[in-house]
């Protein structure tokens, strides 16, 4: 053989061996054929996690993460003690994080706000793969940006949205046009009232308290009642008054349920034309295979590009964490793992935010698609957060008063304007008393 041919043969051999080693290397390292993140697959990694409690953490996330990455050792720091102490949550939470310095934090919206204020969270945009944030549903992204004061200091793996569900069969039965995403609350009320004097409810509400519907409408329309400083309450406005009238007309025409449903939920049992509910109702209706055609549309609002968005659980990284990269990799895993998504969906009926786990919903033909494309009605979250930080005394005194006044308004014992004026003055008295303390 000529020397060049021998050289070529040897090179081929070497190439062959290299190829074999390369292939076997891949196979021997990741026999499970699932793509592992090289940043967290080797060595023991210890991460501390702030969660409700250890069991829930493992059940919701930890066990699934460990199935892929058994080398990650979690230490769970329970946030339960915060709610068992007599100190305000704000203080206990800040102290707990300060003392324990968890790497990864799972937070409620309110908890996130507290830690955002004390600058305890690591900005995530640079840490996470850009696709994580880019592919978030529009409303979720809006809300995350709002909670991060423009930055992204947390992400959400699941989200919820409140919407309007309607029973198509009943609308057809009475020849009433079905609701669509362009309704105002006045339109909504008119639609519900078309079911007067039928044996069908126009609207089924789980709460039965007219003031709940009243406040919901107002927040959806961009109104507020508590100012930013939480020093003043305003309800004596044209906006609120108009809505009080709207609620009144619905109750006076008897189209809203006044008592608890005998069957648990009049909408599900087919005796209510509409209901306002969280997205979990969608899964319920599907799995129960209800015997009527139904639909879901965005909640009425003054701005139809916006819908209520709720983030039950936010995931963040501690600003002081030395394991930021590992924590970020875990967040990316949580966002992409179909087993975690399936578990979340089964236990909570929340919608997944990540692209990988929500492909169905992102089809334009999917009834819930609007929940992925519309913006967040941030006013609603803002008002809720403002209220959350109020002392229990205020909440437990003000809202029963509001309920009582709404009842008076509906019964015609007082006109809307006057009723709201009384509520407003009652609320302001409470606020002044609080300030004095």
């Amino acid at each position: 053989m000529r020397s060049s041919a021998i050289i070529r043969l040897i090179n081929k051999r070497i190439l062959g061996v290299i190829l074999i080693l390369f292939v076997s290397g891949i196979w021997l390292s990741g026999c499970s054929f699932a793509r592992k993140d090289p940043k967290i697959e080797d060595d023991t990694i210890s991460l501390s996690v702030l969660y409700d409690d250890s069991r829930s953490f493992y059940q919701d996330y930890g066990n699934y993460i460990n199935m892929q990455y058994p080398n990650i050792k979690f230490k769970v720091i329970s946030s339960d003690p915060i709610y068992n102490s007599d100190r305000p949550v704000k203080e206990s939470l800040t102290d707990l994080v300060e003392k324990e310095q968890p790497d990864l934090l799972f937070l409620t919206q309110y908890q996130q706000q507290i830690l955002q204020e004390t600058n305890a969270l690591m900005p995530l945009k640079a840490l996470l793969d850009s696709s994580v944030l880019e592919n978030m549903p529009q409303g979720v992204r809006d809300l995350l940006g709002y909670y991060g004061d423009g930055d992204f200091n947390s992400v959400a793996e699941v989200f919820s949205s409140e919407a309007l569900f309607y029973n198509k069969k009943l609308f057809e039965q009475f020849s009433i046009p079905v609701p669509d995403g362009s309704m105002s609350w006045a339109d909504f009320s008119n639609t519900a009232r078309r079911f007067t004097n039928t044996d069908v409810l126009g609207l089924y509400t789980a709460s039965m308290d007219p003031s709940v519907l009243f406040v919901k409408m107002g927040l959806s329309d961009g109104l507020s009642y508590l100012n930013k400083d939480k020093t003043h309450l305003t309800m004596n406005t044209d906006g609120w008054t108009k809505l009080a009238e709207t609620v009144k007309s619905m109750y006076m025409d008897g189209v809203v349920n006044k008592a608890a449903s005998a069957s648990d939920n009049d909408f599900i049992s087919g005796s209510a034309a509409m209901t306002i509910a969280q997205v979990g109702l969608y899964e319920q209706l599907v799995s129960m295979k209800v015997p009527f055609e139904w639909g879901v549309v965005p909640l009425p609002a003054s701005d139809h590009s916006k819908i209520p968005i709720d983030l039950a659980k936010l995931i963040a990284v501690n600003k002081n964490s030395v394991n930021g990269e590992a924590a970020a990799s875990i967040i990316e895993f949580i966002m992409s793992d179909p087993a975690i998504a399936a578990n979340s969906r089964a236990s909570t009926s929340l919608l997944p935010t990540a692209v990988a786990t929500s492909t169905d919903y992102r089809e334009s033909s999917n009834p819930l698609n609007f929940m992925y494309t519309l913006s967040a009605n941030i006013n609603i979250n803002e008002q809720h957060d403002r209220l959350q930080s109020m002392p229990e005394d205020f909440i437990q005194s003000f809202f029963p008063e509001l309920t009582s006044r709404m009842g008076d308004i509906i019964r015609g014992e007082i006109d809307s304007r006057s009723g709201l004026m009384e509520v407003e003055s009652y609320g302001n008295t409470l606020l002044q008393a609080l300030k004095a303390k």
Partner: protein, 417 residues
């Protein structure tokens, strides 16, 4: 050239073999679709505790869950159960209570797992657990618990030091244990704290760990008025009278051991996890429960799995059970239930220094299990009567022998009904 190809083929084969044996050659294969019918309490708890993890590992496995909670209110549970099984023909039973497993076992409804689960898997299960299941299956293993409960003693080192009482280094019999407890009389600390303080339960527990039973196996005749039982009853009475054990109707229901006010506590592995997470300001340790035979512990089987003898998918059912007994699932089970996994791969067993390690090296006290079953089969009225009478004995409202006699008679009248 040929040699190179042969070597290539050999290397590829070796890779394939090592890869597949790492996964476990008996795992669900990736390119097939599997469907398993599962009978469990309800779908949600099955999926949350087991199903979701199987699917995370093997997305090609589908479950159909037949919930048994639908028959819980029925008059004749056995009939309803057997009818449901006949109608639905599940492949596996998961997390069903043992008395239901026994009903299926007795009607030849279960596959003998000893024969099908494989030597490898069997060798990976806690020998005491295996022994217990063989006993309950009358020589064959018809169901395997994925986890178990066993109680231990927790002791507060600081309380012992403060009272100048020597820490026990090992457990002995109940006589010595109770004498130790009584050394805490007239101190600020309780000798023994029980989260459920009931003198009749304590009497039973002490008796059975010393090999005594008051219900005879065949006739279920109650025999309590004996010297041995009177001796134990006397010891229990003294504990309560001297105030070294917490009262049964104490107004304070908070955990006195956690508060550092008790020398010793009886609890299980979930209590261990609780203590660890509590970051207590005192050092604490673990000891086996007292008992005449320290080579045995009581094992309460949990998360039982079994295979329907009429299943057409026995091979898949076996793979499923093997996965539930794997080291991955062991950690998962412990993290979510705080119970002890039956798998020997679990860290409490592999780490010889773990305080609960001894729970993996002891045999099952089948006597206690049998006795518990017999007690369970007695009427609620009897158990209530026994509890009330024991309390009266402690309070000196009735003499020891007299009280035991009364309980005996009540129990035997009940059986005769």
């Amino acid at each position: 050239m040929k040699l190179k190809l042969v070597m290539l083929a050999l290397i590829v084969c070796l890779i394939l073999i090592s890869c597949s044996s790492r996964d476990g050659g008996d795992d669900f294969e990736k390119d097939k679709s599997y469907k398993l019918k599962v009978m469990a309490a309800d779908e949600q708890s099955f999926m949350t505790n087991y199903g979701n993890y199987v699917k995370a590992r093997f997305p090609n496995v589908e479950f159909q869950v037949i919930p048994i909670n639908q028959i819980f209110g029925d008059e004749d549970l056995q009939e309803s159960l057997l009818q449901l099984v006949a109608a639905e023909q599940p492949d596996v039973f998961v997390g069903m209570p043992f008395f239901m497993i026994r009903m299926l076992q007795d009607s030849n409804g279960l596959v003998s797992l000893s024969n099908v689960i494989g030597k490898d898997t069997l060798s990976e299960i806690h020998p005491g657990v295996k022994q217990l299941m063989e006993h309950l299956g009358e020589g064959e293993i018809y169901s395997i618990p994925t986890s178990f409960i066993s109680q231990v003693l927790f002791y507060n080192k600081r309380v012992f030091a403060e009272q100048g009482i020597t820490l026990p280094i090992e457990s002995t019999n109940w006589q010595e244990f109770l004498q130790l407890i009584r050394r805490f009389v007239n101190t600020d600390s309780l000798g023994l704290y029980l989260s459920y303080s009931d003198p009749s339960a304590l009497l039973t527990q002490i008796g059975q760990s010393e090999g005594l039973a008051y219900i005879s196996p065949q006739s279920h005749k109650v025999t309590l008025n004996t010297d041995s039982w009177a001796n134990i009853a006397g010891m229990v009475k003294e504990l309560y009278r001297e105030g070294v054990i917490n009262d049964w109707d104490s107004a304070d229901s908070s955990d006195l051991f956690l508060q550092g006010k008790a020398a010793i506590m009886v609890g299980d592995s979930s209590y261990y996890t609780q203590l660890e997470a509590a970051n207590l300001p005192f050092e604490w340790g673990v000891l086996p429960l007292p008992g005449a035979d320290q080579t045995k512990i009581e094992i309460q089987p949990e998360g039982l799995v079994a295979i329907n003898s009429k299943s057409q998918h026995e091979a898949e059912a076996v793979r499923f059970i093997r996965f539930l007994l794997s080291d991955q699932m062991a950690d998962i089970i412990n993290h979510t239930t705080n119970l002890l996994p039956s798998a020997l791969s679990f860290s409490y067993n592999t780490d010889a220094n773990h305080p609960l390690h001894f729970l993996y090296t002891r045999d099952a006290d089948t006597f206690i299990t049998e006795n518990e079953e017999r007690i369970f089969s007695m009427s609620g009225d009897f158990q209530k009567y026994m509890a009330e009478t024991m309390k009266r004995m402690v309070l000196d409202e009735v003499g020891l022998r007299e009280g035991l006699q009364l309980i005996e008679e009540f129990g035997n009248n009940q059986t005769n009904k």
